[in-house]
Symmetry: D2
Subunit: 185 residues, 4 copies
């Protein structure tokens, strides 16, 4: 059983990535795959649900990523808190799930069902409060997809690597990593 | 004083647009400008805040849109509820505000301060509950920007134009339009 | 099929009651029962779930009210927004549901299941935003009890009867009343 | 500088108390005062703001408790998650703050301003999600009172002392205690 980390940040080595690494360091590296949304090209959805032809193929990396997601039993979404939500890149990815729900090549709903999901969010000093609507959004997404939302950590950090001074977030991330390690066996 | 409607939908003539029109029909057409995010090209942000060079120009329509936004005193954000959040297109736009906050060509914070903001959201049957984290997110955005969040309507509709059967949302939208008409004078 | 309105206010003829009347005026009076929590005596719960004897009878009006609630198919909770939540009186009532869940005299869960629920909240000028956690709380309660949460109206009013100037809330309340009238037939 | 812990539970030695003790064990006992709302008698508010005579004295323990609260610089609210909110006992206490805001014997708003506040909540397995509206409610209360909401821990535990198996909540509580110890110096 493997975990896929999806980094939504639009900056490499940022705070959300640093906090996520505290989780991942508890795991066996061979159990972890990672994808940076900055490294892939995903178009915003064009809603063609109500057209005669339905969704048409899009020339980007989405389908490859969708398959990668379906092939992992555990998903970790890591995002900075941008304007009190997930990054636009991550939202573009999730919006496209709508397209996968209509796919005739695989049963997306069935494949996603029963997965586990974790979320790491890093924002400013008030993130433990202002990130809560985003946690609620992820919870609704999980509920809709019948994914088990098994934990989240909210960290505080704006300046480069500042989150590493947020000791409460760090101990939470490490503890969460220990729990996930047990689950991946 | 003019109102700018920003449509986040990835489909023209969709439910969120139909409900928004119920608001706009109460207004003098010459007081209303509209932009469909489907018709413009906005890249996801690349976070260069912590680089030496700072944000570099991006070859897309963002700056033109930012100026349009600054030039209107009232903003109406209209979005379908995609995965319990605003559309990725709309999120891409708002994420880029971060870039405007660092602009040396205008004082974005100062220009946005004191504007009024309205939000129209259309989702499925449970939208009056599942759209609430999104309303909270808009509220946090408004608070940060010192914009006055003056009203929102949540409608229900999935099939084409189904929202027009949501009589409660319709009367709310009309009533909101009447109030805005008074404010635009 | 009858509707039971439960007023949580600690003041008679207050704003939340006034807005609620706008809903009730759409209904046939013989379909409506009303109870003011100010007029009854309900003790805060004493949690005896984990004692040998379990919950012991309490000398107050709770059981009578619980039976009244079970005997109505539609419940309307009307509360002022006190400190961003329902009134303490209403919370005392709902906390006691825990006791009913353990009752050997009736099957509370079974009786509550499938009922419809409406909520009217009146707070200050920012209530459309600050009342949202309370709406979410009611939604979670409904979900747990398998009650259908079918609508809510949030009004603004602090001074006596000020809510009657909140035209958006008034049209919503009237429209909601019309819908409920249809459902009570 | 001293911390006052206010236990809202309607059961002694319950899960929320057990998790709270993990915080308090990090502190110097002479810096900590504790009050169990089960041990005091606090009436629900009677809203007399709009009467000629205003609020009349109530024959209960509220005023004594209000003075104790004003005399501590740091407040820790500890409550089980009852029906997705704070306990009715705790809500009754907070509702009465409205009365203190009108007191002519002290300036409640001024006395509360600048205090720090912490919150410990224990609920069922889904508490990390279902307790979020309650965290948001506390955040709004803090904002209104100009109190600094400096941290919260959400634990999971229903059976007696089950929360002690929630290792993530335990490490968070200990870490929070360490931070508070530094702040109380």
């Amino acid at each position: 059983m493997k975990l896929l980390t999806i980094y939504g940040s639009s900056r490499k080595n940022g705070n959300s990535e640093a906090l996520t690494k505290k989780v991942l360091q508890q795991l066996n590296p061979k159990d972890v795959d990672e994808i940076h949304l900055m490294d892939v090209h995903i178009e915003p959805i064009v809603d063609e649900r109500h057209t005669e032809h339905g969704f048409r193929p899009v020339d980007d990396d989405y389908e490859k990523l969708a398959i990668q997601i379906m092939n992992h039993q555990v998903l970790l979404f890591s995002t900075p808190l941008y304007w009190y939500g997930m990054s636009g890149r991550m939202k573009n990815l999730i919006d496209r799930f709508t397209q996968s729900l209509r796919s005739t090549e695989y049963d997306f709903k069935e494949k996603m069902k029963g997965k586990k999901m974790y979320v790491i969010i890093v924002g400013g000093q008030s993130a433990p409060y202002t990130a809560l609507p985003l946690v609620q959004q992820f919870q609704l997404i999980a509920q809709f997809m019948e994914i088990e939302f098994s934990g989240y950590v909210i960290g505080r950090g704006v300046k480069p690597l500042e989150v590493l001074e947020d000791e409460e977030a760090i101990v939470q991330a490490i503890q969460l990593g220990k729990r996930i390690r047990g689950e991946l066996k």
